[in-house]
């Protein structure tokens, strides 16, 4: 492994790790706030128990998300100092706003976690909501920075120099809206289905039924609605990428040759050498329609780009297929569940359905990871699309391989401990009556 690959792998690992915690840290507070709201309104004890249980999850995920986010703010420089030297002043605006949002989130979580019985219940509730709002704002702002890497604006690039910098224009880049929308919905889908899956599993075990039933309802309502909206957002994204980054779209679709009435390739394994896709299902004109809304439109293929400006096709295509596949399964399950809820069908608590939900627990996160692989690998070889190659951003320090192994070790350990903690927290939930924080009468 050379330093460049090591640096990219380390970055991928760090982002891939962080995104899970960031998603949960952003979305769980909303679930928690809903349950808290229901408790304050109905004073049903299982809502209180659920709120406390979820708040413990939020605490664990928030701290892990916060430290991995801190790591990332350093890693950007440790691995890509040349990139940051130029990009920092241009795409820094969302980061400086994100700093504020993150700070407020840390304050809000302090109030919420330690505020039981110390403040007016509704103020306490409000701080919980603020954890979610500020977390979501952080996420949306950070996506603006990534959007800028895909759609760099807000500067003039003259003879290798970045002139006339306009940080506001850079923040409101063309990719921000589509990416932020897609990511926010994805966070709701992934977290919603993951939380629902865990509670479905616990529901099958038969203890604390009212609690798990409420938990499942709260998580899956949001998750299912987001899962149904996601394909619309995906379509907006695809049309946007077709316009701005045709090479990325071509890699996603393993579309090697420019043609009109281009087929949509579903599945298959791209053969990068011979530039063909084996074992795929092809829908004639499908790609032309999805990218440009016209079955006969011409879709630019990879052949329009020089060899050294083409993204890796195999990884991008497979990741894209995985993302769409997972998304579809979740959407269908979401529809089924909403239908069941609406018509009060008994199957929503049947063993087969709960088992299905339990198996779907990781699916949303697999889709999130795959989606980020599409965005990031699909942008290669560029770090700033069309302006700066990733390799040019690399640190001159040798030995990044060791750094990669060190970070891998750290992330694996954190994964292990967090999983263990979650399992223990979940076991604890059903074990016995635990003393709960409360509000004075």
């Amino acid at each position: 492994m050379d330093d460049f690959i090591a640096a990219r792998s380390q970055m991928a690992l760090s982002l891939g790790f962080h995104i899970i915690f960031a998603c949960i840290g952003m979305i769980m507070p909303f679930f928690m706030a809903i349950s808290h709201y229901l408790y304050l309104k109905k004073r049903n004890d299982h809502y209180r128990k659920l709120t406390v249980a979820w708040s413990k999850g939020v605490a664990i995920f928030f701290v892990t998300g916060a430290v991995s986010g801190t790591m990332l703010s350093f890693e950007l420089g440790l691995l890509w100092p040349e990139f940051m030297l130029h990009a920092g002043p241009i795409f820094g605006m969302p980061f400086s706003l994100e700093g504020t949002a993150f700070f407020l989130e840390a304050i809000a979580i302090g109030f919420f976690l330690y505020g039981w019985g110390k403040f007016h219940p509704w103020f306490h509730w409000y701080t919980g909501v603020m954890v979610g709002v500020t977390g979501l704002a952080s996420g949306i702002l950070v996506v603006a920075a990534n959007g800028w890497m895909n759609a760099p604006t807000g500067f003039d690039y003259v003879d290798g120099e970045f002139l006339n910098i306009d940080p506001m224009a850079a923040m409101f880049n063309d990719a921000w809206f589509t990416q932020a929308l897609h990511m926010t919905l994805a966070a709701f889908v992934a977290t919603g289905f993951a939380v629902a899956g865990i509670h479905a599993f616990l529901l099958m075990r038969g203890k604390n039924k009212p609690l798990h039933r409420s938990a499942l309802k709260i998580a899956l309502s949001l998750g299912a609605v987001a899962a149904i909206l996601q394909p619309i957002s995906g379509d907006i994204s695809a049309k946007d990428v077709a316009q701005r980054q045709p090479a990325k779209l071509a890699a996603m679709e393993a579309h090697y040759h420019t043609e009109s009435n281009a087929p949509l390739i579903i599945g298959g394994i791209p053969d990068e050498k011979n530039k063909i896709v084996n074992y795929a299902i092809k829908i004639p004109g499908g790609l032309s329609f999805l990218a440009h809304g016209d079955f006969n439109a011409e879709v630019i293929g990879l052949d329009q780009f020089p060899e050294d400006e083409q993204p890796p096709v195999l990884i991008t295509h497979l990741a894209f297929q995985i993302m769409v596949g997972c998304g579809m399964i979740l959407m269908l399950t979401g529809i089924l569940w909403l239908f069941g809820q609406w018509r009060k069908k008994p199957f929503v608590e049947a063993k087969w359905f709960l088992t299905l939900l339990a198996f779907l627990t990781p699916l949303g996160f697999i889709a999130v990871e795959a989606g980020w692989v599409v965005t990031e690998v699909g942008r290669q070889p560029w770090i700033i699309y069309g302006i700066m190659k990733t390799r040019e951003g690399l640190t001159p320090m040798p030995g990044i391989v060791y750094s990669f192994w060190l970070y891998t070790f750290i992330y694996l350990s954190l994964c292990g401990i967090v999983s263990l903690l979650l399992i223990r927290q979940i076991q604890d939930l059903d074990k016995k009556e635990t003393p709960l924080p409360t509000y004075p009468r």
């Binding site: 605490a59 664990i60 928030f62 701290v63 430290v67 991995s68 801190t70 790591m71 703010s73 350093f74 950007l76 420089g77 440790l78 100092p81 040349e82 940051m84 030297l85 130029h86 920092g88 002043p89 241009i90 820094g92 605006m93 980061f95 400086s96 700093g99 504020t100 993150f102 700070f103 407020l104 840390a106 304050i107 809000a108 979580i109 302090g110 109030f111 976690l113 330690y114 039981w116 019985g117 110390k118 306009d166 506001m168 640190t395 001159p396 320090m397 030995g399 060190l406 750290i410 954190l414 401990i417 903690l421 223990r424 927290q425 604890d428 635990t434 003393p435 709960l436 924080p437 409360t438």
Partner: protein, 350 residues
């Protein structure tokens, strides 16, 4: 706007040292607490810093963002030449933050608790040490952009007497700040004496390691002492810090903990102020090159946006942060909910 941004950078760094530092210090003094008292002191620490510790670390994020947006050349050269100590500092931050939370949210109080505690305590030393070590390296002129070999470029700059002395000094400062802070948080007289004695010892150590800094500067033929003393403003700041020492001792001895907190904060601020004032506008002194804040500053459009973002951010952050600290100072002794909320598991084990 450049100076607004610079002011925010200095303040964020100072606050990180004061608040983040006290936070790390709590872990440092845990090492010097006898086993019998550890459990109690852990609980106390958790109650005292639990609600605010995460906010304390945000000052580091703010500093980093200011550096990479406003002074990208400084951020990128530090990232290159100090890659190793920065990574080690990060390691400390991760290990400490997670261990601190995990040990309280692990409902099974078993063998893993020992692991969390070990990680928590030792990583509390790592971060302040490297924070100081990096600061020492940055002002020492030891970074050598012309270096040819790996050790010369990436190891020798931070492996010197001076940077190591600054690292040790920072550990002592953090421990001292935490001890002074915790005197006021202690519930009973026994604990108060415990923290008072620690504060006194750590203060002595701080003064000693401070001397070590000047000694190492002398050995390495840095003009640090002369430079700081030849500047009237810096000299005044250092003299003020020294004069306030006996008052601080008096305050600690007699449990005037509010006065002690203010004075401890004042001394650290004065030391940092003397340094910043003397160096300004320089920020990084390398072998043969100086990176100043003025010359490395981003274009004005960026600084304006950053300055406005910081000012607007403080309007939201500062009142909220103040209210957070104020509320938990006031409502700290609401024991019932505290114990259930924070150490539910621990309770059950008994």
């Amino acid at each position: 706007m450049l100076y607004v941004v610079i002011a925010f950078l200095y303040i964020a760094l100072l606050f990180y040292l004061l608040f983040g530092g006290a936070d790390f210090g709590a872990g440092i003094i845990e090492l010097f607490t006898s086993d019998a008292k550890k459990e109690k002191s852990r609980l106390l620490t958790y109650r005292a810093i639990g609600p605010i510790w995460e906010a304390n670390h945000m000052w580091l994020i703010i500093s980093i963002v200011i550096l990479f947006v406003g002074f990208p050349a400084i951020y990128s050269s530090l990232s290159i030449y100090l890659h190793i100590p920065l990574s080690l500092m990060l390691l400390g931050i991760i290990a400490r933050g997670t261990a601190f939370i995990f040990r309280h949210y692990d409902p099974v109080k078993g063998k893993l608790q020992k692991v969390y505690n070990l990680i928590y305590v030792y990583s509390s030393f790592v971060t302040p040490f490297f924070l100081g070590n990096i600061a020492g390296t940055v002002i020492s002129g030891r970074i050598n952009p012309a270096a040819k070999s790996f050790p010369e470029a990436y190891l020798f700059p931070w492996l010197g007497y001076f940077p190591i002395a600054v690292g040790l000094f920072t550990i002592c400062i953090c421990g001292f700040l935490a001890a002074v802070y915790l005197i006021g948080e202690a519930d009973d007289y026994v604990d108060r004496i415990l923290f008072r004695n620690k504060a006194i010892w750590l203060n002595i150590l701080t003064v000693l390691t401070g001397g070590l800094i000047f000694l190492s500067a002398y050995v390495e033929e840095m003009e640090l002492l002369n430079e700081l003393l030849s500047n009237n403003v810096s000299l005044t700041a250092l003299v003020l810090a020294s004069i306030s020492l006996p008052i601080l001792w008096y305050a600690i001895r007699n449990f005037h903990y509010k006065m002690a907190r203010v004075l401890a904060g004042f001394q650290v601020s004065m030391i940092l102020f003397a340094l910043f004032y003397r160096l300004f506008p320089a920020f990084v002194i390398m072998n043969g090159a100086v990176l100043t804040l003025e010359e490395t500053a981003a274009p004005l459009s960026t600084l304006n946006a950053l300055g406005i973002a910081l000012l607007a951010g403080s309007i939201f952050i500062l009142p909220a942060l103040y209210y957070l600290i104020y509320s938990f100072q006031k409502k700290r002794f609401d024991q019932d909910t505290d114990i259930v909320n924070m150490v539910g598991g621990e309770e059950r084990r008994k």
